[in-house]
Symmetry: C2
Subunit: 581 residues, 2 copies
């Protein structure tokens, strides 16, 4: 028996009990006649005391030899602590140790196992198993498991069935980013790892499963970035006999449940916004609505004057930055440099200071009078003390530029509070996207996404204007989920393939299996997939998803932990019937 | 809105309500003036009625055009059914239809969607999405999700944290059966898919997670058989600061919980049996104890007489087959042929008929008298009416032979009842196994399995006799779980490697990462892994695991559904920097 209590458990009520604890040595304080040890396990820290007078001699001596991260077991009496520690739940007691067993010694760890460690990220990743001992990391992994549990409980209650779909699937010809897996048993043949269980969940709907979900790993063989892992986890869901309204209500319910049970916050009903509105008001299809600074459209009040830049622009838009009228000339110049950085790409920025006395001071005073500027203030909702920042140009360029500026200013003003949760639905996404490279439209979501019934006629006349039954769930400026109502009608599907430029043969080759299945009575269906890694990170109050993954890959995907791709030797390649070019 | 009720929901209390249902046409009975349709969804079947007099004309006509598996939506009034169907929960009512929408037509399915279908296995696998519409398949998938849910609830309550471990891991040099995954981003480098998360769960213990579990896919690139899939699901668990007793109690608790909540049966405490005892009593390390027919050892009572075959045998053992004394000479001859089949491999079989009158008739009456045979009956527990079947030879061969016969006889006698659940723990497995091919011992479980403390000394003198802290959970003759207490002590680990014939260099190459981690304070730990597919199948009352997998691979792993390995074309291979030899 290694323990009868954990290190997070004992309280004043346990005083006088004889207990056995086990864990890691967090800290040793040796005063000569007295040794204190902080003993740590997953559940907390309990103070041990070894006392020259009251502790058996050989135990007392052994205590002096303990080092950080030694694994020990102790038996002793729970006693009242002289100087109580109100910061930890076990702070009222300590253990007067009678027996001590060193279960395992420990080399000096490469960084300290404390909440604020001295280890840099690379070092902590390399020794991730030590990093996990630290509260901030350990608690994130526990939080992740709680999110998964809550997701499962909620969906099971709603009648969803978790079905495991295969990981070794058929490689599709388009799968440029599929990982492929050579099969030893079938020479020259390959499986692929799924980028998502999309096909399978649609097959399950054809199969009458009605409500499906799965928390599932997906794979993409592409460049690694800080927040993009080659393997990632998805909450994948699909429902039959539903329209968009049913899906939104069901998964709004799920998301509210998560925020309520895990964060204690009731967000109320989620706002819904069309894609067009989101672009108009925030220049972004995943707007962060924790704060205002909505776009004001200034074409009507800023054009047709002498200012050529605005007159020639397709769109003139501005935001009112609260309290920023106090920016100095130098600070404003730096801001202008910021919007001109290649990552943002604006050509310049016009500003208006809204002085506290109701007057205005702008960088275009030459062209506009106070009356004009007052109209700008009205259009952007600016109040005295605000700074109006205005960009102009092509709508497709100037909106993301101003959106970037809006996010930057919110960051500076501390408005992106991770403890505030502001979800919304963005709906009515465009069905098609023009691809400059291939010079044809392709599906913004995927080729099974259904167009709005009332827009189907426009497929011929104005494909770019066709809206889809597609929706994203946005939380604090991040897309955490996205999905669509699928096409389940053969004729409409053929029409779609035609407009996506697929020949019948190509369509068959890529999607034949699903199309075959659809012949046998496909029900209306639709679904959604949540990025579980990101959802967890945002709910946890952080935006780095890597912190919430037990064994993440680093940016190179090569030298974190034992996840490294390793070369195979010749004999192994031989067995696989492949060779390196 | 597609429906406001499911097809399994309406009862007599709903009569007079107007309802909307959607689903698949299960059956159409057209009597000319009246059409009945069975409408099916995941939740059940509801009868629809279209009546020439009461149903709008165009709706009535459309009803006549409905075919099997059409997807429809209907609105109508719940009315009392004239001839009630007591076999289904909705059998008291039917829907008098007013509105009918055909949501989707259906081609004639390749087999009927009924509980007893006319489709053979290959056809049903090919059209698995149609097979899933059938109750027996659908219910198995729902059952599987319930098992997973109960596992998670139980373990979460016990303080276990579900941690996701990576799927793209480092390929280990020994990984002959690893699937490998070429990385496009890192030329000539490969990931491997895990055969189990063994290393990661041990790292999580080093990391202080204390109680870990995961329901996780694992992968093995080996020959496919009916019950062996290249991807399979495991309930993987590990605990720190535990000894074997803690593990057995925890997971006995889990398994009892599953059998209780899912089958309504309390199995009581699980028997425990050493490996040696299991081999002696049942000739099998996973004995089916739903029935008796335990081995009787006959050396003492059958040797040292005139019968040379027994005298020269290392072991003479028999079982008493209940009621089989009535076997005819011909039936017994066929049984002897059965044990001589190469799959069983016995050289012959001696039998004793225990007559109802207390006399005996044996195939070796020449050598043994009634008194001898009475002793055999006593040793095998045979009663009047039983047939004693006796095999002899080398212990290592004769035990599995008699075990096979025992299972066969139980099958014939209907003693392997899938509704009876007889779990047991088999403990004290041998640590090492002699490998004829490499002429050295290798680890029966894996090299981190700890030997019994009291047996460590025997590592030098009698390695084959060293017992491990390793255990299997056996249910109805199937190993459903297995695990061990791990070595966490460096010196003992080195000793183990030595006895496994690893040089220090080889050990480092294969296990270096884990050994590094163990330097920094590894706690005592151990765990278990359950075969989730098999566990589910046995709990579900069937032994074929494939039935419980939504999209299984067939024996060739190639042509079930879209799981087929597909060849890549040259350009794709080029991108992966590999070529086929």
């Amino acid at each position: 028996m290694y323990r009868n209590h954990t290190c997070g458990e004992l309280r004043a009520a346990d005083i006088n009990k004889e207990v056995t604890l086990a864990g890691w040595v967090q800290k040793v304080r040796d005063k000569g006649f007295m040794v204190w040890v902080d003993l740590r396990d997953r559940y907390g820290i309990t103070q041990l005391i070894f006392d020259e007078e009251r502790t058996p001699k050989e135990v007392f001596e052994k205590a002096g030899s303990l080092g950080r991260e030694y694994v020990i077991r102790v038996t002793g009496e729970v006693i009242e602590r002289e100087s109580k520690n109100k910061n930890i739940p076990t702070g009222e007691i300590e253990i007067l140790v009678k027996e001590l067993t060193i279960l395992n010694e420990a080399a000096t760890p490469p960084f300290t196992i404390e909440d604020d460690t001295d280890g840099g990220e690379d070092l902590r990743m390399k020794y991730r198993y030590l990093d996990i001992r630290r509260n901030p990391v350990k608690n994130k992994l526990i939080f992740r498991s709680q999110v998964a549990m809550q997701v499962r409980n909620y969906l099971a209650n709603e009648g969803f069935i978790e079905v495991e779909t295969p990981y070794l699937i058929k490689s599709t010809p388009e799968g440029a980013r599929d990982f492929v897996v050579p099969s030893r048993m079938n020479e020259g043949q390959f499986y692929a790892l799924p980028q998502s269980p999309q096909t399978f969940k649609q097959l399950l709907m054809v199969g009458g499963m009605d409500k499906y979900f799965q928390i599932v790993k997906c794979f993409r063989d592409e460049d690694l970035r800080a927040d993009r892992q080659p393997e990632f986890t998805q909450i994948d869901c699909e429902m039959a006999f539903v329209d968009q309204e049913d899906i939104l209500n069901t998964f709004e319910g799920l998301t509210r449940h998560l925020i309520k049970t895990l964060k204690g916050i009731d967000t109320g009903e989620f706002p819904r916004m069309t894609y067009d509105e989101a672009m108009r008001r925030y220049g972004n299809d995943k707007p962060d609505i924790r704060f205002g600074m909505e776009f004001g459209e200034l074409n009507a009040v800023a054009q047709h004057k002498e200012f050529k830049v605005f007159n020639e622009a397709e769109l003139v838009i501005g935001i009112a930055v609260p309290g920023a009228a106090s920016y100095t000339r130098k600070e404003i110049d730096k801001l202008i440099d910021w919007v001109k950085r290649p990552q943002v790409g604006a050509l310049g920025m016009v500003y208006v200071k809204c002085n506290e006395d109701g007057t205005f001071k702008s960088s275009v005073d030459k062209f506009y009078d106070e009356e004009d500027l007052a109209k700008w203030a009205e259009a952007t909702g600016a109040k005295p003390g605000d700074l109006i920042c205005i960009l102009s140009g092509d709508a497709g360029k100037v909106r993301p530029q101003l959106s970037a500026l809006r996010m930057e200013m919110a960051e500076r003003l501390g408005l992106r509070d991770p403890k505030v949760f502001a979800p919304l639905w963005v709906v009515d996404f465009p069905l098609l996207e023009w691809d400059e490279e291939t010079e044809r439209y392709h599906a913004m979501h995927h080729p099974f996404t259904s167009p709005k019934t009332e827009d189907i006629a426009k497929l011929e006349t104005d494909p770019g204007a066709v809206r889809a039954n597609a929706y994203d769930l946005v939380l604090n400026g991040n897309e955490i989920g996205g999905g669509s109502i699928r096409i389940f009608d053969k004729a409409l599907q053929s029409l779609m393939f035609k407009h996506l430029g697929f020949s019948e043969e190509e369509a068959r080759e890529q999607f034949g299996f699903l199309m075959d299945a659809f012949q046998y009575g496909a029900p209306p269906h639709g679904g959604i997939a949540f990025g579980f890694d990101r959802l967890t990170a945002i709910l946890g109050g952080q935006e780095s998803i890597r912190d919430y993954i037990a064994f993440p890959k680093n940016n190179a995907g090569r030298d974190v932990m034992i996840d490294a791709p390793a070369s195979l030797d010749d004999q192994q390649l031989e067995e696989l019937h492949i060779s390196l070019r």
